[in-house]
């Protein structure tokens, strides 16, 4: 076994990486804080939020009012924009100094990038893309639940000797932390030492779509290959339901919806109260993305489609006339009510 960077005996505390972008915390970090608080109550461990970036004093202040015990803010001009190399360098430095027992990150593109590199730099284990976290009642070890094979198999993973115990969690798995502190938690600002050689990669440009975050939508209309590019029909239903639009990978590949709208294993795990799935076959890589949904309605003309095994209401029919009639029904009721 490779030597651990530090031993379990030398480790303490639960840390959450507070992913930020343009002075805003990523929702997944708030979700992680809620779960981490639950774990810290069980074990009595201190809960620390780790923020990395530059000129984030104000955000650090806001983070200090969240339900955590302490904020560590690593600052350096070269951390202004996320690059895996610079962020891994700076966070590894703090982690080796302060020796957390558990270090949690969101399984976002940035979070996964950082976690994968950091775990190797720290010579520790990483449980990636967890669908749940718990502490083993006997050993106190972190147990990360992961799914493999398109969601068909669930495994629980632990890391016994190496620290920190690292895990990433998909956005949408936990509910966001609600509680706030009355008085701000202490903020410890660390001036990181990041040599230029630690950041070989330059961010040339960035483009973010202001638009939808389907992982947070309350209601979703999801377009599959069966909509055959007729997004007008899907949009009409979404308007009637005041819903966001999600899509299967095939619909995204066809260009009918944006990448950020893709639901599933390589897209977003959504947890809407209502999901209307139009013309999707129900591949497990897709259905893992709607497992947490409240009511699932599936429209598919193929009675054998496996999407029906994952639905509460199953409409075996051509989706178009049904969706149009449903939109008409909503319109007729809204005519007087609004």
């Amino acid at each position: 076994m490779i030597d651990p960077a530090y031993s379990p005996q030398a480790a303490s505390g639960i840390w959450v990486f507070l992913e930020q972008d343009g002075n805003v915390l990523a929702p997944v970090s708030l979700e992680l804080l809620g779960k981490a608080r639950e774990l810290s109550r069980q074990s009595g461990a201190e809960l620390t939020g780790l923020l990395a970036g530059h000129n984030l004093d104000e955000l650090a202040g806001r983070a200090a009012s969240l339900d955590l015990d302490r904020v560590v803010y690593v600052s350096h001009p070269l951390l202004e924009r996320f690059t895996a190399e610079a962020y891994a360098h700076a966070t590894a430095e703090v982690i080796l100094q302060q020796r957390p027992d558990i270090f949690l990150l969101g399984a976002t593109p940035y979070g996964r990038d950082l976690a994968g590199r950091l775990a190797v730099m720290l010579r520790t284990g990483l449980t990636a893309d967890c669908t749940d976290l718990a502490l083993d009642p006997e050993s106190g070890l972190l147990l990360g639940e992961v799914s493999g094979f398109g969601g068909g198999i669930l495994a629980t993973i632990k890391c016994e000797q190496h620290r920190p115990q690292m895990a990433t969690v998909r956005p949408g798995v936990f509910a966001e932390v609600q509680s706030q502190r009355d008085t701000a938690a202490p903020v410890e600002k660390v001036e990181a030492d990041v040599p230029a050689s630690a950041c070989p990669v330059a961010v040339v440009s960035r483009r973010q779509h202001a638009g939808v975050d389907v992982s947070r939508a309350e209601r979703l209309v999801i377009a599959g290959a069966g909509v055959r590019g007729d997004m007008g029909t899907v949009e009409a239903l979404a308007r009637a339901l005041d819903a966001e639009i999600g899509a299967t990978r095939v619909a995204v590949d066809e260009g009918w919806a944006g990448r950020e709208q893709q639901i599933g294993q390589t897209g977003v795990i959504a947890r809407p109260k209502l999901a209307v799935v139009c013309g999707a076959s129900g591949a497990t890589q897709f259905t893992v993305g709607i497992e947490q949904a409240g009511l699932v309605i599936a429209l598919n003309q193929d009675p054998e489609a496996s999407i029906f095994e994952q639905a509460d209401l199953c409409v075996v029919d051509d989706l178009f006339p049904v969706v149009r009639a449903l939109v008409a029904e909503f319109e007729s009721h809204n005519g007087g009510a609004k």
């Binding site: 590199r117 010579r123 990636a128 094979f149 495994a155 070989p200 973010q208 638009g211």
Partner: protein, 277 residues
């Protein structure tokens, strides 16, 4: 970068997801008769490498860690246009988690030598997710770019368009570097007739065991893996779903749906109140 461009594609062979189950008696994975395939996103990585070779010249090597039955699948990669293939196969590699897997692959990449660009798939379908490429980069001490949609080459640098949360960014990284490509960012080519002929040729796949790599046997495989499986079960995918069939004319079906979902819509708060952090 000296001389011609040398790219290396990491291909993982995985059991077809839909054919794997859990053996309830032993609570271990039952790969039973599950057929194997190249991890689908890795075919996108291979295509990305071959497309770069078409544009800029150079050569493409393939690397896989897995059992001996992977050899024919590497031959398919050769038939598609790759120039060399390496298989890391040894019982000592078995049971590896991401730390041990990325170390093993990185050791082989060092041994092959002179590699400008390592290409991986974005994630493997059978468990560990998207962590091996950053791991390889960390072991080699070189830059990483994940979720690449498009790669351009420019005098010892790559310009990569990559996906981020809610958008994309363009990164400029010096070579050598590790890039993982987004599944479905391209259409993997079919192998041509000439390539098919190449399929019978043998001896083109170099197989290495742990002894061939400059790596401590305690750092690879199960022995070198800090994480372990504490439990295993089959996901109950149909929990809670009612699977109630709605029938009638489209209008009747729509009416039933309306009755069932109008409450979700009426009880909703106006959207302007939804998020404020």
């Amino acid at each position: 970068m000296t001389g011609e461009l040398h790219m290396l594609v990491c291909l993982k062979v995985v059991p077809k997801s839909e054919e794997v189950g859990v053996d309830r008696a032993t609570n271990t994975l039952d790969r039973g008769n599950a057929r194997s395939e190249i991890n689908p996103p890795d075919m996108n990585a291979l295509e990305a490498a071959l497309a770069l070779k078409d544009r800029y010249g150079g050569r493409v090597s393939l690397l896989s860690m897995g059992p001996p039955f992977v050899v024919p699948m590497l031959r398919v990669g050769l038939a598609m246009g790759a120039d060399a293939a390496y298989l890391l196969s040894d019982r000592a590699f078995g049971g590896a988690d991401t730390l041990a897997t990325s170390l093993t692959l990185a050791s082989a990449i060092r041994k092959i030598g002179d590699i400008d660009l390592v290409l991986c798939g974005e994630e493997s379908s059978d468990g560990a997710t998207a962590q091996v490429p950053p791991g390889i980069a960390a072991w080699l001490g070189i830059p990483q770019v994940t979720y690449a949609m498009d790669i351009e080459l420019e005098r010892g640098h790559i310009l990569v368009t990559r996906e981020i949360r809610g958008g994309e960014e363009v990164l400029d990284a010096p070579l050598p570097a590790v890039v993982s490509v987004k599944v479905s960012c391209n259409q993997p080519r079919f192998m041509d007739v000439e390539g098919m002929a190449g399929l019978d040729r043998d001896g083109t796949v170099t197989t290495w065991t742990a002894a061939d790599l400059d790596v401590d046997v305690n750092h690879i495989g199960l022995a070198g893996s800090p994480t372990s499986v504490a439990g295993l079960r089959e996901a109950l995918q149909t929990v809670g779903r009612r699977r109630e069939v709605v029938t009638g004319t489209p209008e009747q079906e729509a009416h039933i749906l309306y009755e069932r979902i109008s409450e979700f819509v009426r009880s909703s708060s106006p959207r302007t109140q939804e998020t404020s952090t």
